[in-house]
Symmetry: C2
Subunit: 197 residues, 2 copies
């Protein structure tokens, strides 16, 4: 017999997680309440508590990368080391320019910076889903340091372009930026840049 | 006759701004209250209202770059174009590694991401104090686009290392990271990286 939740229960749980994601994105961690999430999902607050017990658990369920990072990184690795930077740059814009996935990324950044619990969740998420797979795909010394430098560059562009909307990088065409971002990521990924004595 | 506030008034105002900066850093924009700031500064809430009227005005007074960006950028320009990237990397760590100025930068990032008004203040601040002076110091096509890409890279490293504390970049020695950051900034500043057709 297959274990797991009944279909109706899964659907309700998914609706709650969707509502939570919207609320964390719009209102941030602190201003999100179990009550408001329940209302948005069309369920009783007690049901939200039944599934998640605390806001922290609800947040953990709501934050996920809105794309399959491991598969994407594996595909970039196939394409060859010299195209890795540009491939990552294309992936970045594909994720962030799409309103659905981009909105989820903005939500992640906003929540992470407003609250220490949320920051820790996001740190764990980035480590497991980006830094480690990326480091594994790199055949270079200081692979994890490179992978975390790449992550910081991508987080910075996400923050500057989509959260702060700093100009002119906020309005520049992705096709103008892709070679620039690709080149700087390629430097982080493959050049002999660290002073490790 | 010299215009301006009496010395006692200036001192009180400074104490309020200091308290506000601490509160925005620790609690974020939303959870900061006029009442709590007044209490921390040892003054009556009415006095905070007298000087600043709204939390938004208090925030505008509290966010400032904790270093003289224009002078620093002018000095880097003097050192010559080929050292610009590494000079900026050294400046980054000098500002962020010092508890006083680094704390102020973390506060800026946290506040900016939690609230749209705060994001706009930070965007204006970065534009006026970093992007424009940096673009002015660059003798390269797409100077403002380069300057905003450099800003996004620096914001990303600040966010990843000091807010998220993503490893291993969070614990790496600045002396290991300076050449890496310097090299990537130099690429952003001077290489032919944009696809402007």
């Amino acid at each position: 017999m297959k274990r797991g939740r009944r279909p109706g229960e899964t659907k309700t749980r998914d609706a709650i997680v969707d509502a939570a994601r919207r609320s964390f994105a719009r209102a941030g961690y602190d201003r999100t309440t179990i009550r408001a999430v329940a209302q948005d999902a069309g369920v009783d607050p007690a049901l939200v508590m039944h599934f998640f017990a605390t806001k922290e658990h609800l947040f953990a369920a709501a934050i996920q990368l809105p794309f399959d990072a491991e598969s994407e990184i594996a595909a970039l690795r196939e394409a060859g080391r010299e195209h890795f930077g540009e491939g990552l740059a294309r992936l970045f814009f594909r994720v962030w320019e799409d309103p659905a996935t981009g909105g989820a990324m903005v939500s992640l950044l906003r929540s992470a910076s407003s609250h220490e619990d949320a920051a820790q969740r996001m740190r764990d998420l980035l480590d497991a889903r980006i830094v480690q797979p990326l480091a594994g795909a790199l055949d270079a010394p200081e692979a994890r340091l490179r992978a975390s430098l790449v992550s910081s560059t991508l987080v910075g562009l996400g923050f500057a372009r989509y959260v702060l909307r700093l100009e002119p990088i906020a309005s520049a065409d992705p096709e103008v930026l892709i070679p620039a971002l690709g080149r700087t990521l390629q430097v982080c990924l493959t050049e002999d840049i660290f002073n490790t004595g």
